[in-house]
């Protein structure tokens, strides 16, 4: 394993962490959107607000982390991605602005009318952003991003079967993760009705995500031989692991053991993203650009590695503190 491979693994870890923690926050927006009118949706929305309020900004930093690692360590890939996937990335950036500010504004206004507008901005963009990022992943994974800091097809690169599956799967996965997390949050508030409310949604989303992921493999066998062959070849153990974790998690959800279901959901989502990485190795851009070719000089890679290790030492305890305080309900909505 070369130094560049190590950095690629760190990048993949960043993508996985963003998919899990950022994904759960996006999913919360999905449930916020579908929670119904102001009166009916008030209780679920309160849980959603309490659940993601303290953590979403920290979770969001994983996206920045991934972008910085790509542009510093694999700058050629970064240029190709941003040139080719200009449209979905622009949409995602706009969505991120709407989502963050909509959420922050909603928290501090009192009138229902305004809360509805800001809530709508937050919730709608919570669907647009994961779709766009899933489509970006699909474009990269299906070899539609050319090497050399050049522009591929501006439209086909993200409006293709793989991207569409990627986008829809991202929405489903976010909804799934979030619903599972929200079951625990509702449990902490000892609101049995809401526990049941989110449990039903978690089950539905789990099944939805599973169906999309599985059928995606069949749908895409003509679009994207490279990825499918490798998902069913070298990455098969990881894919199977994801499926097993997903199924066990579903069983636990059905039986009402939400705490454990949470960890299985994290495992299922993490391993499906990892499977993409395993399938694509040694390419940073599938079929077009290898990790080794795109890698920055060693001194840069070492610097990023050292910063990453410092980050682990500083941030893991800090994040741990944040999550523990949050889980013990020591952090309160204002």
């Amino acid at each position: 394993m070369t130094l560049a491979d190590v950095i690629a693994v760190i990048l993949l870890a960043g993508v996985i962490l963003y998919a899990i923690f950022g994904g759960a926050d996006f999913g919360a927006g999905f449930w916020d959107l579908t929670a119904g009118g102001a009166a009916r949706g008030a209780k679920p929305r309160l849980v959603i607000e309490e659940s993601i309020g303290p953590v979403w900004e920290a979770n969001h930093v994983w996206l920045i982390f991934c972008l910085v690692v790509i542009w510093t360590c694999f700058s050629e890939a970064f240029a190709s991605i941003t040139l080719t996937l200009f449209v979905p990335l622009s949409l995602a950036a706009a969505g991120i602005v709407l989502r963050g500010s909509g959420f922050a504004f909603r928290k501090v206004v009192v009138r229902t009318r305004y809360r509805r507008v800001f809530g709508g901005a937050f919730a709608l963009s919570s669907i647009i952003v994961p779709f766009c990022l899933g489509a970006v992943a699909g474009g990269i994974a299906s070899g539609r991003v050319p090497a050399g800091g050049t522009t591929g097809d501006l439209w086909d690169s993200w409006l293709n079967p793989t991207s569409l599956v990627g986008g829809v799967l991202a929405i489903a996965v976010c909804a799934y993760l979030s619903a599972v997390f929200l079951v625990s949050d509702a449990h902490r508030l000892s609101d049995q009705g809401l526990v049941e409310y989110f449990r039903r949604r978690a089950i539905a989303a789990a099944i939805g995500a599973g169906v999309i992921a599985t059928s995606g493999i069949f749908l895409l066998r003509n679009d994207n031989r490279f990825l499918i062959d490798r998902l069913l070849g070298r990455a098969l153990p990881v894919v199977l692991l994801s499926m097993v974790l997903g199924v066990v998690g579903l069983v636990l959800l059905v039986r009402g053991a939400a705490t454990w279901a949470r960890f299985l959901a994290i495992g299922a989502v993490g391993s499906i993203v990892a499977a993409w990485g395993v399938a694509q190795y040694p390419y940073i851009l599938a079929e077009t650009l290898k990790i080794e070719t795109a890698a920055a000089p060693d001194a840069t890679l070492w610097t990023v590695l050292i910063v990453f290790l410092v980050a682990v030492v500083v941030l893991v305890p800090s994040l741990g503190l944040l999550y523990v305080l949050d889980q013990r309900s020591l952090l309160d909505v204002e």
């Binding site: 972008l67 542009w71 200009f86 622009s90 500010s101 309160d332």
Partner: protein
């Protein structure tokens, strides 16, 4: 459509908006902690109320700052892919460090903002300290990246112009880093202080002179009052360093067309296409004196480099105007600070004059304008380069012709967000004010800090 002008416009616009939120993100936490510290130490209810309210507002401005900062991250690729492709290996390094600080900031800001009710007073106070530290570290890293664009260093190129080796410390601590980073960090405290203070000066002008408002003015204004004279020294040092490191930028600032000694400091005025300075009030020899401590100091003119390697005449005039505006406003703010310091020294009280409050009320806007102007000096003054002497702006830009669409979209989106932000913040202030007028301090029982938890209560009320 040619994407280059649109890419420049979009980058300039999004940065211009984000940079206003930066001082709040960097320095407001420190000011809140000062209030928080006083509140706990002296059992000061007014200071406690300020700290709590500031942190609530900070939650909103930090969120908007975080997302507008994310847009900038995307824009490095969306607008400047060739720049990133060629220089990311070096330019990216400070951002990796910045990411570390931003992460720390986001984590502890969450703990601090959401910890008011249930954490114990001193642990809660300490949970806020990393925010202030990370704010300084983060600004250092980002501005170090900008310094690198002005004074690129720490890399080896092969014959094809590709980076083959990097010296990370050389990148981070390039020639411009010491003065640019210090200048921006002090600016964050200066601008943040005046911004917050001006809100309370405005309230006092409207007759709200209770201790709460006075304290709300004094804490941030004192922070700004300390930062302002420091900034004059740092700024003077920075200008002299620009004279040595980036002579063309300096020539633009001082409207120097041809190499000359005994160069006057021209206030106002503009450079005509004939190379002559028009209008303007020259102070003989001052620019030379300030640059080299002698009026015989020779200053390189714009003509010292080919026309294609220096800013255009209109860019030169923009730089000079921005430079004058920054120095002029900073001098006016310094005068206000001296007024404040003098009266405080003699009477241990705020100046009574309405004029002091009037100037105090506009000091926030003046400081923001000075900040924007300073940023214009450094960015426009570097033109036509994106990496000084290595890469031109147009060579770093995207080739996607649709940038004009994203530019328009961003303008509409940001206008909506900024207007809403102002309305929302005003609404919060009005609610607090209404609660006070009703004489009901405890209208919102959740505002009691460090109290027992009352989750159920709130839930029923909200629903």
């Amino acid at each position: 459509m040619d994407p280059v002008p649109w890419a420049r416009a979009q980058m300039a616009f999004t940065l211009a908006v984000h940079i206003v939120l930066v001082p709040l993100g960097v320095s407001w936490a420190a000011m809140t902690l000062i209030a928080n510290y006083r509140a706990i130490k002296n059992n000061d209810a007014d200071a406690m109320r300020l700290a709590q309210r500031w942190s609530k507002v900070m939650a909103v401005t930090f969120a908007v700052g975080a997302v507008t900062g994310t847009v900038l991250t995307f824009e490095f690729g969306l607008l400047w892919p060739q720049f990133m492709s060629q220089w990311g290996d070096a330019f990216g390094i400070p951002f990796a460090i910045e990411g570390l600080f931003f992460f720390t900031e986001a984590i502890f800001i969450a703990i601090y903002l959401y910890g008011w009710k249930r954490l114990r007073p001193w642990p809660h106070f300490w949970s806020g300290v990393p925010i202030a530290v990370a704010g300084i570290g983060g600004s250092f890293a980002v501005v170090a990246a900008n310094s690198w664009m002005n004074q690129p260093a720490g890399f080896t190129l092969d014959a094809a112009g590709k980076i083959v080796d990097v010296d990370p410390l050389g990148v981070i601590f390039n020639q411009a880093t010491p003065y640019e980073t210090t200048h921006m960090i002090v600016a964050a405290y200066l601008v943040g202080g005046f911004m917050v203070a001006s809100v309370y000066a405005f309230a006092m002008l409207r007759g709200r002179t209770e201790r709460y408002y006075r304290l709300g003015f004094i804490i941030p204004f004192t922070v700004a009052a300390i930062a302002t004279p420091v900034q004059m020294v740092v700024g003077d040092f920075a200008a002299r360093s620009v004279f040595h490191d980036q002579p063309v930028k300096f020539a633009a600032m001082e409207l120097v067309d041809q190499n000359a000694t005994d160069v006057p400091e021209t206030l106002g005025g503009y450079l005509g296409s004939d190379g002559e300075v028009h209008l303007g009030v020259p102070i003989p020899g001052l620019a030379s004196l300030l640059s080299g401590f002698s009026t015989s100091t020779e200053i390189d003119g714009l003509d010292s480099v080919p026309a294609s390697d220096r800013p255009t005449v209109s860019q030169v005039n923009t730089v000079h105007l921005a430079w004058d505006v920054m120095v002029g406003l900073a001098t006016a703010l310094l005068a206000l600070v001296i007024w404040f310091a003098f009266v405080w020294w003699r009477k241990r009280a705020l100046p009574r004059s309405k004029w002091f409050l009037r100037f105090g009320a506009i000091s926030g806007i003046a400081a923001v304008i000075a900040l924007e102007a300073g940023w214009v000096v450094t960015e426009v003054g570097r033109q036509p380069w994106i990496v000084y002497d290595y890469m031109r702006v147009e060579d770093g830009a995207t080739t996607n012709s649709g940038v004009w669409i994203t530019f328009l979209g961003v303008v509409v989106l940001y206008a909506a967000v900024v207007v809403t932000l102002i309305i929302v913040l005003r609404g919060m202030a009005q609610r607090w004010r209404a609660a006070e007028l009703a004489g009901d301090e405890d209208i919102d029982p959740h505002d009691t800090p460090y109290g027992p938890r009352s989750h159920r209560e709130r839930e029923t009320e909200r629903v």
